[in-house]
């Protein structure tokens, strides 16, 4: 695109009536575009991405549905406050690269968020179009513009402010850390990310499978950060190699801790350490980061169960069970102690799992695991549950039905009931306050911890949550860190 054309586009954008010539009533009647997916019978045998993305025409048609309403409830519904009508208007104007840049003003990771955000309960649930029709497919459009920009090599480095002379260390390269890095480097601070694993991306690379988030996309986002000047120190475990105090001694002026949840929970029941029982983190790390699904090329082994049972009802559970299916299970079960209504997984993921033939066992809780003479799990004894009064989480508490014991055959079990907080940083950082669950306590407005110059966000603060909430925390932290660096750190 030439400069002149760009100027034209910009002018067009500024016109008050916008490029969308349809009347509001007409827009409200347009049908929501469906993103096409890989056929369930095909995709359950491969690790390729399930949704195939919008075509240019679909994206344009879908963008026309946005009412550009003045209240913009969608923006308020987005944890990072993307200018949603703003970027959708640019799609209508056929300036897709401009739309991508508009999103990147507030979200460094659109290709990722467009895929894994629970839009149905954030921006889309409040969409005005959705009052009488289906809401605008904001997530699909976000994914579309990010992919368009990347695939057409239109990604441009943003403007980077002159160096402030201040240095920031970020611990963990997951969504929170990457967001902080992206925001602070643009403001002119020197940024180093320390990552314990050998690839950057945190949960985005070890936790989320290829069929939901291709690793090449995460790598592209990290490469983009590196191009902006972010220094990645991989295979470096802060708290073991250097403590937070030592980072300050090394000349860093502020530290952001985004180490994630990362300490898998187990149920404490009989037989839980038998061979064939994995935490979701281990199972997914073997398959995603260590690419055990590709044994011709990679050396990491993984147990390939014929009957896989995954315990839990979140997105991680869906990821694990669908991975098991793709690795060759004949039967893949979800075992969840509440009913489907209480399941925390995204509706889309549950839907995809069902299409692929995953068997759902609701209101069912394992009592113990039974092994064979080789100490390998062969089955688990479960108890049926019914729902009682709501508990602390607001969800109805599952109550066991006495005598309802039954057996599920399983030679592979994945425990996906959540994570505690990883102790490495709190253990090695004196004066860093944590709550009783070991999560770092912060000021909600600034993400500042009890230690001066140390900020934190993401799952290490909230416990297991979503990518976009971590990114939102990162944005908040970056804003406060910038203020801290400019006011409190003299250079």
């Amino acid at each position: 695109m030439s400069d002149e054309e760009k100027k034209k586009k910009k002018k067009k954008k500024k016109k008050p009536q916008g490029p969308n010539k349809l009347k509001v009533k007409e827009r409200m009647k347009l049908p929501r575009q469906d993103m096409s997916n890989q056929e369930p019978s095909v995709r359950c045998k491969n690790f390729d991405e399930v949704p195939l993305g919008f075509t240019d025409e679909q994206a344009f048609q879908e963008a026309l549905r946005c009412l550009e309403c003045p209240k913009q409830p969608c923006v308020a519904g987005c944890p990072v406050e993307i200018d949603i009508p703003g970027f959708i208007t640019l799609i209508v104007a056929k300036d897709v690269a401009g739309a991508a840049r508009k999103i990147k003003e507030t979200n460094s990771l659109p290709a990722i968020c467009g895929r894994v955000c629970p839009q149905e309960e954030q921006c889309e649930i409040v969409c005005v179009t959705g009052k009488n029709n289906k809401p605008v497919a904001i997530g699909h459009l976000e994914r579309y513009v990010a992919d368009y920009e990347r695939d057409n090599k239109l990604v441009k480095l943003p403007e980077i402010a002159p160096s402030t002379g201040r240095k920031v260390a970020i611990v963990g390269s997951g969504p929170a850390g990457l967001t902080v890095a992206g925001d602070l480097i643009k403001l002119g601070h020197a940024v180093t990310i320390f990552e314990a694993l050998h690839k950057p991306g945190g949960v985005l690379v070890y936790g989320i499978p290829e069929f939901r988030l291709p690793k090449s996309i995460v790598q592209a986002e990290c490469d983009f950060m590196a191009d902006m000047g972010v220094d990645f120190q991989l295979s470096t475990v802060v708290g073991k190699m250097d403590t937070i105090d030592e980072l300050f001694e090394m000349g860093y002026d502020a530290v952001f801790v985004g180490t994630g949840a990362g300490l898998p929970r187990f149920m404490g029941i009989e037989g839980e350490n038998l061979i064939g029982i994995y935490s979701a983190n281990e199972y997914l790390t073997r398959s995603n980061l260590m690419r055990a699904f590709d044994p011709d090329d990679y050396d990491t082994p993984i147990i390939q169960g014929k009957n896989i049972a995954v315990l839990g009802g979140g997105n991680t559970a869906m990821d694990a069970v669908r991975t098991g299916l793709r690795l060759g299970a004949d039967n893949a079960h979800i075992v969840y102690r509440r009913s489907e209504t209480e399941m925390p997984a995204r509706i889309e993921e549950i839907h995809h799992a069902k299409e692929e033939g995953i068997q759902f066992h609701m209101l069912c809780n394992p009592l113990k695991f039974i092994g064979d003479d080789q100490n390998r799990v062969k089955e688990m004894e479960c108890l049926r549950m019914e729902l009682g009064e709501p508990d602390d989480s607001g969800r109805r508490r599952p109550v066991p039905i006495e005598g309802s014991n039954f057996i599920i055959k399983a030679d592979l079990v994945v425990v996906a009931i959540g994570n505690g907080s990883n102790p490495l940083i709190p253990q090695t950082t004196p004066g860093l306050d944590c709550n009783k669950w070991g999560n770092i306590t912060v000021n909600d407005d600034t993400m500042a911890t009890s230690r001066k110059g140390v900020f934190a966000g993401g799952d290490i603060v909230t416990g297991g949550a979503t990518v976009i909430l971590a990114a939102g925390a990162g944005r908040k932290a970056a804003r406060a860190m910038h203020e801290y660096l400019m006011k409190e750190v003299k250079k």
Partner: protein, 296 residues
């Protein structure tokens, strides 16, 4: 990427690798471990620290060829780099001045027990060292241990060198003689650590064992390295690798270590059968113990 400055065979299927990794070495303590990755497509393997040269920033590990990854490690030439060496991981061995401490190293465990013996010595203890292997050619580090130990016992299962018998024999004699012992620390094959712990339990002497379960990230994230310690499940990477030997469920550890045995053998067979693979002749002759009697 960390540079390999030495990689040599020191026994049948036993190799020693020295890696230049100054920052890691400056932080590491006896009893901790590292995770290595030989190449981009390789496994992450935990390795006990078997020596630290703080002046030169060198880390020593001793490894045995047991599968594809360790076989590939033997092919790394001096001056080449490996993909990763992460650490130091795990908690350092507990060291205090007890008076007399016994360190016991069996098989490949002869190596990591050496820096621990050094640490005990530096803390002012009298150190009695017992090392053992199946036969004379599998023994190594004798000189190193001699330089630290106040008393050194060497054993071979087949009697080809030193005391004919297991490491538990001289240990039992010391215990029977009523030597006052503050701590026993052992690194070695799981059966050895199990028998040793069963023995010392009777004498009520505190006994620590260093466990080396399967592991991926080494930071507590994956939970693959969980071990049963008394009534509790612990993660060897963040709670260990050292545990009270009297509480460890060794049978479960043995089972979990064997989780991928079939897959490992398949990968190894595949590797050894590949004429393009540049493995040392000794590794090409590699056979698992239960295959050794069979014909080619």
């Amino acid at each position: 990427m960390p540079k390999v400055v030495d990689n040599r065979q020191i026994g049948p299927m036993i190799w020693k690798m020295v890696v230049e990794t100054p920052r890691l070495v400056s932080k590491a303590k006896a009893g901790q471990f590292v995770i290595l990755r030989v190449n981009e497509h390789g496994e992450r393997v935990p390795m006990s620290i078997a020596g630290l040269d703080r002046d030169k920033g060198l880390l020593t590990i001793v490894y045995q060829v047991v599968g594809k990854t360790s076989a590939l490690m033997t092919t790394v030439k001096v001056g080449e780099e490996i993909s990763d060496c992460v650490g130091p991981l795990g908690l350092p061995s507990h060291v205090e001045k007890w008076g007399t401490a016994i360190v016991v190293g069996g098989g490949i465990g002869i190596a990591p027990i050496y820096p621990i013996a050094q640490a005990y010595k530096e803390a002012g203890n009298k150190v009695i060292t017992i090392i053992g292997a199946r036969s004379k050619d599998l023994l190594f580090y004798e000189e190193e241990h001699k330089s630290v130990a106040d008393e050194l016992h060497v054993c071979t299962d087949d009697g080809s060198y030193g005391h004919h018998g297991f490491v538990t024999d001289p240990l039992k004699k010391l215990l029977d003689d009523g030597v006052s012992i503050g701590m026993i620390m052992t690194v070695g094959p799981v059966p050895m650590m199990k028998f040793l712990s069963n023995l010392t339990r009777k004498y009520k002497v505190p006994t620590w064992v260093s466990l080396n379960p399967l592991m991926i990230d080494g930071t507590g994230m994956c939970g693959g390295c969980r071990v049963q310690i008394g009534d509790e499940t612990k993660f060897a990477c963040v709670d260990g690798p050292d545990f009270d030997g009297h509480l460890v469920d060794f049978d479960l550890l043995t089972a979990r270590l064997g989780a991928y045995r079939q897959q490992e053998r398949k990968a190894m067979k595949h590797l050894l059968g590949d004429p393009g693979c540049n493995l040392a002749e000794s590794v090409r002759k590699f056979k698992y113990p239960d295959e050794q009697s069979g014909t080619e």
